[in-house]
Amino acid sequence: MADDNWIVGIAEYKATQSPNRLTAYGLGSCVGIVLYDQYTKVGGLAHIMLPSSRFYSQVALPGKFADTAIDALLTEMKNLGCRRERLFSKIVGGANMFSLISQSAVPIGLRNVAAVREELKKREIPILAEQVGGTSGRTVIFDLVSGRVEIRKLNQSTEWV
């Protein structure tokens, strides 16, 4: 299998395996959720927009919300042979880019992060690393060979978690 770069757009989620990479370009207040099973090297990336599907009667796009995206991603990863109890996660994003304009007390980016943490905790998936909040957008590149996540920000050095 070729080393392919799979792009995960807004409100999308994708699962694949080593040696592929999963990339979400330009996360702003969205959050990228990385899930990885290091034995099978099966991994997934969800690019969620909103904290919870709870307030919506119909969920046309499960990838849009933290809760439904994690469940949908878990199903796909299970189909690829990963084991739920071996999974760990890394979360990236949830910035508040236009710092002046948050309408509510807690900006949406941070509400997304809080929701993702809670949903992962509910499912007993440990969070191994986080790079969240702040005021800058982030591009996330998840390397399924190593399980490492590259985080690119504009005008700042690249970080790995």
Partner: protein, 210 residues
């Protein structure tokens, strides 16, 4: 890439609205800086949001974006994008002092860019009101210097939509030999585009009801 629901005729009307808005914005801007600055509309189009980053030069293209919430009969968000590489010069044009590093803009530089976004948005919104009689006002501007896609990502979260359509008016600022392009985007929230479209058809005397 033109939207299916905006006909050429309607885009022509939009261009006319753009011309009127740009004229008014140029007057306001010239008064603000005390020198003559001209503006002209170079492009008018309707783009789906997934094509916007491409229009601006790519997903990770560096941009300066002025963001404003839009309230009124049509609600949504307006964005004014400037190319990152021209921000220093733009500050020079506006406040008479070029900035060394666009990533560490002075307070004055930041205010100037926000004010320019605000003038442009205000002028286009009032021109829209004159033609299609839909009242819109803008809120306080915010500024981000970031990747094009990260700006869109944030705005789509605010609109709670995965896909939206934006009305785009590309504007060129001219002072002597210097030309700088800024792009105005109006992103109406779900349902509002239809309202805007209906108002367009009505004021143009078309039977279309969106």
């Amino acid at each position: 890439m033109e939207s299916e629901i905006f006909s050429d005729f309607q885009l022509d009307a939009l261009r006319e609205i753009g011309n009127v808005g740009a004229g008014n914005a140029a007057t306001a801007l010239s008064q603000m800086v005390g020198r003559r600055i001209d503006m002209s509309v170079t492009k008018v189009l309707v783009l789906p949001t997934d094509a916007i980053a491409g229009f601006l030069g790519g997903l990770e293209q560096n941009v300066a974006a002025v963001h404003m919430p839009i309230y009124g009969e049509v609600c949504g968000i307006s964005l004014v994008f400037f190319p990152m590489g021209r921000i220093s010069e733009l500050c020079g044009m506006l406040v008479g002092k070029e900035e060394k590093d666009p990533f560490c803009l002075s307070e004055l530089g930041q205010s100037a860019i926000k004010e320019l976004g605000s003038i442009l948005t205000g002028a286009y919104l009032s021109a829209l009101f004159r033609f299609v009689h839909i009242q819109m006002i803008h809120g306080v501007p915010g500024l981000a210097l970031d990747m094009a896609q990260a700006v869109l990502d944030t705005v789509l979260v605010e609109l709670e939509q995965k896909e939206e359509v934006a009305i785009v008016i590309e504007t060129e600022f001219l002072e002597n030999e210097k030309q700088i392009t800024g792009s105005f985007f109006l992103l109406p929230e779900a349902g509002s585009l239809k309202k805007l479209f209906t108002a367009f058809s009505k004021s143009l005397g078309l039977p279309g009801n969106g």
